[in-house]
């Protein structure tokens, strides 16, 4: 394709991407550089049905005047990125200086909100992604080898978790693992411990969130691989069979390499998906045990009286940055494949 033709061809997509992806990111970045104006407080007496108390109130006129002069707020540079709620360089430095052992240092770092969320998010991503890949492949191969009449129903059943809205799906699981729920009560009976609670222990809560994550995203990798399996060349398979390759060898040396581009695709999607893990944390009321990067953004914005736009923006950009780092190996690989093919 000529460059000129290509340009006109891509223009609509490109402009949509700039409008809906690039500009919002730039806007979020700009907002993350500002903090709100100083609130002008006035001391006043507030009275109500329960008597009077001395209290403070915001002088809205003075605050409005400040906002008119500079609608974005006060410029804070990268201050928000470095404060305690985000990268917390000062706190980490202090923790390093004050800690005698690596364990103690880690405890202090883990106590900081951003690193706490980062730990869970990364653990979740790195456990759920490979599990979904391997299990998805296994289910796809399994379904593919079923007799024809069972295939339809099997595919339908395997896709079901994907059809359930994440919030609802996780809420259902949350009720099931309750001490009175079917799973929770069974586990209590199996272990003979009526006080065992999945919701009260951090490791069990993490485990449950990840089980849910695998359950919910498995259909995506399954259906992608299943579609890929339909394109495995019969000739190569037959040739391998004639050469005496076992089923397992054919799987590893023929099917998997054939599906490699799909594996890359699913990995990319899974990393992006898992990094923004959010709904199950809310549905499971797991905030006491697990917080993710998306959850902190939500938390900053939810306080509708004083939404912290700057803070939420900073966390968003740090998350984007993280996505880029995590995906770079896959992207580099795709780029190499691309350049190799085009020469």
């Amino acid at each position: 394709m000529k460059h000129r033709t290509f340009f006109w061809f891509i223009l609509p997509t490109l402009s949509a991407m700039i409008l809906f992806i690039a500009l919002p990111i730039v806007s979020v970045f700009v907002q993350s550089l500002f903090v709100e104006h100083e609130q002008v407080l006035i001391v006043s007496e507030s009275c109500g049905p329960f008597g009077c108390t001395e209290s403070t109130a915001v002088d809205t006129e003075a605050t409005a005047r400040l906002n008119e002069e500079a609608p974005l707020g006060r410029f804070n540079g990268l201050g928000t990125y470095f404060n305690r709620s985000h990268l917390a360089f000062a706190e980490i430095g202090e923790a390093w200086a004050a800690s005698d052992s690596l364990g103690e240092f880690w405890n202090k770092v883990y106590n900081l909100p951003f690193y706490n969320a980062l730990t869970f998010t990364l653990t979740y991503t790195f456990l759920v992604t490979p599990l979904v890949l391997v299990l998805g492949m296994a289910v796809a191969v399994g379904v593919n080898n079923l007799p024809r009449i069972f295939k339809g129903p099997a595919i339908f059943v395997s896709l079901l978790p994907f059809l359930v809205t994440p919030l609802v799906g996780s809420l259902i699981l949350f009720w099931m693992v309750d001490g009175d729920g079917v799973i929770g009560a069974t586990i209590q009976r199996v272990f003979g411990d009526p006080t065992l609670s999945l919701k009260a222990s951090t490791p069990l809560m993490w485990f449950m969130l990840m089980v849910y994550g695998v359950w919910h995203t498995l259909p995506f990798s399954f259906i992608t691989f299943y579609a890929g399996l339909q394109t495995v060349p019969e000739d190569t398979m037959e040739a391998a069979q004639i050469d005496g390759a076992t089923k397992w060898q054919r799987m590893i040396h023929v099917v998997v390499p054939h599906l490699m581009p799909l594996v890359t695709f699913v990995t990319l999607m899974m990393i992006m998906d898992n990094l923004r893990v959010f709904e199950p944390i809310v549905s499971f009321s797991a905030e006491a045990h697990a917080r993710s990067l998306s959850w902190i953004i939500f938390n900053d914005l939810r306080e509708s009286g004083n939404p912290l736009y700057g803070s939420a923006g900073a966390t968003s950009l740090l998350t984007i940055f993280l996505v880029v780092i995590l995906m770079s190996p896959v992207l580099v690989r795709t780029w190499r494949d691309f350049t190799r093919k085009s020469h």
Partner: protein
């Protein structure tokens, strides 16, 4: 005493405001749009306002949603605002006032306020910013039959007595987890901390400033109190809020509870529970630290406000409509739905807990602009202590550090 005073004040104005003549709905042909939470008492007030004044208004709409708090600032910011009136509570009024979204009501109260005694006018400085009509607070729920089984004849009144009673119930093998409390991570656990903090006489901020003072001996004592209570709560307590605790109570799985007064009526009514449980449920004042001390509760009121960004005529019509609903007849018809602050209220058993808590000298939930930020960070940081992984001092220090970071960004601290 407190309710009596209101009743007397109300009885006096009642003569002037009797429902014999038709409601005064202010200017005709205005659009009245109300945003409110979703519970029966609010429906009663807003519903009567609609009944009275819908015919003289060009439009009368009500949006009752549990998410009112989350959308109210956004909904009132544009000019004209999405709603002419929002029904708020202590905390949400501050949230709206911080952005200057509600207007002073002094003139309107003069014109239409015959049913509104001065103590229901929420005043900030000289401005009336809201009109309260009902009260709410947390207090103690007890099962007297179970307490009797372990030989306790008086309803506990201090935290120590509550814990001792819970211990006796557990040791008698009646219940492993006799206590229920709303300590779900987030808003609820912070509110539970606030209760104990108030009971211990804590101050959230240095007076007149936004500097935090929760990491104090009172803060530590409050956390220790909270911990001593949740020892006897179900291990899932960090996921339990009002709906869950009410459910546990109605299922007979708890004997002592610190819950909202507004749950009193649904718990002791004849739905959702058995006769044995409802007839033995006693509502009493929130526990205090020492006998006769300040009850561990925050007093809340619910009331209505009028938006800044609407025309004066719409504001007047909205105010007149809502004020017309605050009648003794409305209270009589919905007596058990709330602890009404209005004339005609006849405190029933469901109101006993809130009344006793108010009389005991509990403090109102602070109406301070930055309290929302403090409440938020407490909700996030205190669970580390309750889970057992962190000292009380560390959890409070974390909360203060997180508060300072957020308050700086919001402009409350330099």
């Amino acid at each position: 005493m407190f309710l009596k005073k209101i009743a007397v004040a109300g009885a006096f104005v009642g003569f002037m405001g009797s429902a014999a003549h038709a409601a005064n709905c202010g200017p005709d042909g205005q659009s009245i749009r109300i945003l409110a939470s979703d519970f029966p008492a609010i429906h009663a007030v807003a519903g009567l306002a609609e009944e009275n004044c819908a015919s003289s208004a060009s439009e009368f709409s009500r949006n009752h949603t549990t998410e009112a708090r989350q959308i109210m600032n956004a909904a009132l910011t544009p000019n004209p605002a999405e709603y002419t009136s929002v029904i708020v509570a202590n905390a949400t009024l501050t949230q709206l006032m911080n952005d200057g979204l509600v207007r002073p009501l002094n003139d309107l109260v003069k014109k239409y306020g015959e049913n509104i005694p001065p103590n229901l006018q929420i005043k900030i400085g000289d401005d009336v910013m809201a009109v309260a009509f009902m009260a709410n607070s947390q207090h103690l729920f007890s099962r007297k039959d179970i307490l009797e089984q372990v030989g306790i004849d008086t309803i506990p009144s201090t935290y120590g007595e509550v814990v001792a009673a819970a211990k006796a119930i557990r040791e008698a093998g009646i219940m492993e987890y006799p206590i229920v409390m709303n300590v779900k991570t987030g808003w609820n656990v912070a509110e539970s901390f606030n209760l104990a903090f108030m009971a211990h006489g804590g101050q959230f901020f240095k007076p007149g400033t936004a500097e935090p003072t929760v990491n104090s001996p009172e803060g530590v004592a409050a956390l220790e109190t909270l911990k001593s209570l949740v020892e006897y709560a179900h291990p899932d307590h960090l996921t339990q809020a009002s709906n869950e605790t009410q459910g546990l109570w109605e299922a007979g799985k708890a004997a002592l509870g610190i819950m909202w007064g507004s749950r009193g009526a649904p718990i002791i009514d004849d739905e959702g529970s058995s006769e044995e449980i409802t007839s033995n449920t006693v509502l009493s004042a929130a526990p205090s630290v020492e006998p006769g001390g300040v009850p561990g509760a925050t007093l809340w009121w619910d009331g209505f406000t009028i938006a800044t960004n609407v025309s004066d005529e719409e504001a007047e019509a909205a105010f007149a409509a809502l004020a017309s609903a605050l009648t003794p007849e409305m209270v009589a018809a919905n007596n058990d739905d709330a602890v009404w602050l209005l004339e005609g209220f006849n405190p029933g058993p469901a109101a006993a807990g809130v009344t006793a808590t108010v009389q005991g000298g509990a403090k109102p939930y602070p109406m301070i602009p930055q309290i929302g930020i403090m409440h938020g960070v407490l909700g996030n940081e205190l669970t580390d202590f309750l889970k057992g992984g962190e000292s009380a001092e560390q959890a409070l220090a974390d909360a203060e550090a997180a508060y300072i970071t957020a308050a700086k960004e919001a402009g409350f601290l330099k």
